[in-house]
């Protein structure tokens, strides 16, 4: 057997090991997804409890807010840009709405609704609309 074949055979075996290892890891994680709660929001995945909790809150928003409206989404600040990534997930789960972050450039003037997720939020322009699972929905009065 030539040296070239030997090297290629070794690389192939290494590739097979790497693939099997990653497959086994991915399957093990997938099987335990119902109990996985990644601390970093940037590591959230479909089907994990944090995403399902957020979706339960936003299902109520979908029922009450007409499509196309500007919905401000606020959530607790946290390490690793947690608030930012929660806002991105909320935008993905509410594609028919315009989901804006609290500190957006035009948020104050364009906001029509506000969702406070897992935190309290007070502002004189907010009018409570509904208490939803894990969040509270407000209508925003025009200035």
């Amino acid at each position: 057997m030539s040296l070239r074949k030997l090297i290629l055979g070794f690389v192939l075996a290494w590739g097979l090991l790497a693939m099997l290892r990653e497959m086994s890891f991915a399957l093990a994680q997938y099987d335990s997804r119902a109990s996985l709660s990644p601390r970093e929001v940037s590591r959230w995945r479909h089907g994990t409890p944090p995403v399902e909790r957020l979706d339960r809150c936003l299902a109520g928003v979908r029922e009450r807010v007409p499509p196309g409206r500007v919905v401000v989404f606020v959530s607790p600040r946290g390490p690793h840009n947690a608030e930012f990534f929660r806002w991105r997930w909320a935008a993905y789960l509410l594609p028919e709405h315009e989901v804006a972050p609290l500190r957006g450039p035009d948020t104050g003037t364009l906001a029509e609704y506000l969702v406070a997720y897992q935190r309290d939020f007070h502002h004189p322009r907010l009018e409570p609309m509904a208490q939803l699972p894990g969040c509270r929905l407000y209508r925003v009065r025009k200035p």
């Binding site: 290629l8 990653e22 497959m23 890891f25 994680q29 995945r45 991105r88 993905y92 804006a100 450039p105």
Partner: protein
């Protein structure tokens, strides 16, 4: 189930549209796998241009409009363009002698596809922008630049990216009548499968021995799947750049010919329609092919420039106009070039090469060796140019360099590693016998010397 059928139906339709251009795209000696890959890419480029045209005309997408206009295009192309069978290239058969490497690669592809369907290995970028854009375009039935330009988005949805992938998602959803993320993951499986087909064709064309061919395809499948499972790559557009570079290898291996020029042009256009980095890759692919002297032909002619550059220009110019019009360009790379960033960039890169890539990304270190060999020099030019482009971005970015490298370089390596791996496997082999380039009108009498 219906959503999966809709995705598969759209894939088939785009392949049929692309295959209507076979007379221009198929060179003598092209194997069935290369034809399939190029026709598919051509179909997707035509689809992207069609949607751009519909948007310019203010026509909202609907299943009827998409099916009728794609069908009309296919009929027109069949009627007015020369077809492969009429021009001589022999019919090519799919490989019926599947070897152990092919079977291992297909098994790996199936594992990836099944895992992708669960959404467990979906890239976070599907949530942050690829999937979100696809669903928005599906709901608004056009590329909604006004939404992309919303002030609060900033760069969070990469509004400046070309939109072929979200368009594929939106059109699949239109046919399925709903946005179904698991079914959309089939697109990633298709791109992965096309990458394996292109790699097998390239190794065969380079004259690799059956063992190297089989081992090469299997290693590529295993390395890419292991990386994709670990890094959650399903649903993103990085596959498309990897495919564009791999599909360009066969025409880069043989002496330049009109069909090869157009194949490179289509691969460049496909890359340019996929990601903003793809615009750079399109440029390097075109340059790599243009730098080669075509035997018996003038080095540069209008016809050659059009074949190489027109598809990418047709994709990139409307994109650039819209991005400028809506002021979508980001500011991540607005800083000055700073050599001092090397202290952060290279250590961060070395971690990635050995980590998520299980060491397979070390193959990019072979790029200089590929440049030494005439056969693989054009590939080294295109892949090396792209790698230098990424380095330049890191050296000039005002962003947090360590985070930028760590969060983007693993994915960017997917564009390069498969093609460089194939190039490295073919390097020690003698070049394959070149097919006789099909003569151009009035060129048959020229002396190649």
């Amino acid at each position: 189930m219906i959503a999966c059928l809709a995705v598969l139906g759209l894939m088939l339709l785009l392949f049929l549209v692309g295959s209507r251009f076979s007379g221009l795209l198929t060179a003598p000696g092209d194997g069935a796998l290369q034809r399939i890959v190029v026709h598919w890419m051509a179909g997707m480029v035509v689809f992207h241009l069609l949607l751009t045209l519909l948007d310019s005309a203010g026509l909202r997408w609907s299943p009827a409009i998409l099916l009728i206009s794609l069908g009309l295009l296919a009929v027109l192309a069949h009627r007015f363009l020369p077809q492969a069978s009429a021009r001589g290239p022999e019919r090519a058969k799919l490989p019926s002698d599947l070897g152990w490497g092919d079977e291992l690669a297909l098994f790996t592809l199936a594992v990836f596809a099944l895992m992708a369907l669960t959404l467990w290995i979906t890239t976070p970028d599907f949530v942050y922008h690829w999937g979100l854009k696809g669903e928005r375009f599906f709901l608004s039935r056009h590329v909604d630049y006004a939404w992309l330009a919303r002030s609060w988005h900033g760069q969070s949805i990469h509004p400046d990216y070309p939109n072929l992938l979200p368009e594929l998602y939106a059109a699949s959803s239109l046919l399925a009548r709903r946005f179904d993320p698991p079914a959309l993951m089939l697109w990633s499986a298709l791109f992965f499968g096309m990458m394996l087909a292109a790699a097998r064709e390239a190794l065969g064309r380079a004259g690799a021995s059956p063992f190297v061919r089989q081992a090469g395809v299997a290693v590529l499948a295993l390395a890419v799947a292991a990386f994709a499972l670990r890094q959650q790559m399903a649903g993103g557009a990085d596959w498309m750049l990897a495919l564009a570079l791999l599909a360009a290898i066969p025409p880069l291996l043989r002496p330049p010919d009109p069909e090869g020029d157009l194949q490179i042009g289509v691969a460049a256009a496909f890359a340019a329609a996929s990601k903003v980095e793809g615009v750079a890759l399109a440029g390097f692919l075109i340059l790599a092919q243009m730098a080669r002297l075509a035997p018996g032909r003038r080095w540069l002619s209008w016809e050659r420039l059009l074949r190489l550059g027109l598809p990418a220009a047709a994709v990139a110019i409307p994109w650039y106009i819209q991005v400028r019009r809506y002021q979508l360009f980001g500011v991540l790379n607005a800083d000055r070039f700073d050599w001092g960033r090397a202290e952060v960039i290279f250590p961060a890169m070395s971690k990635i090469v050995l980590g998520p890539w299980h060491g397979f990304a070390l193959v990019v270190l072979l790029l200089p060796l590929l440049a030494l060999r005439r056969q693989t020099r054009p590939l080294a030019l295109a892949a090396g140019g792209q790698l230098l482009f990424y380095l330049w971005i890191y050296f000039t970015s005002g962003f947090d360099t360590r985070f930028y490298v760590a969060s983007s370089f693993p994915r960017l390596l997917l564009h390069l590693v498969p093609a460089v791996l194939v190039g490295a496997l073919m390097a020690p082999h003698p070049p394959a016998p070149s097919p006789i380039p099909s003569p151009q009108p009035g060129e048959g009498e020229k002396d190649p010397k």
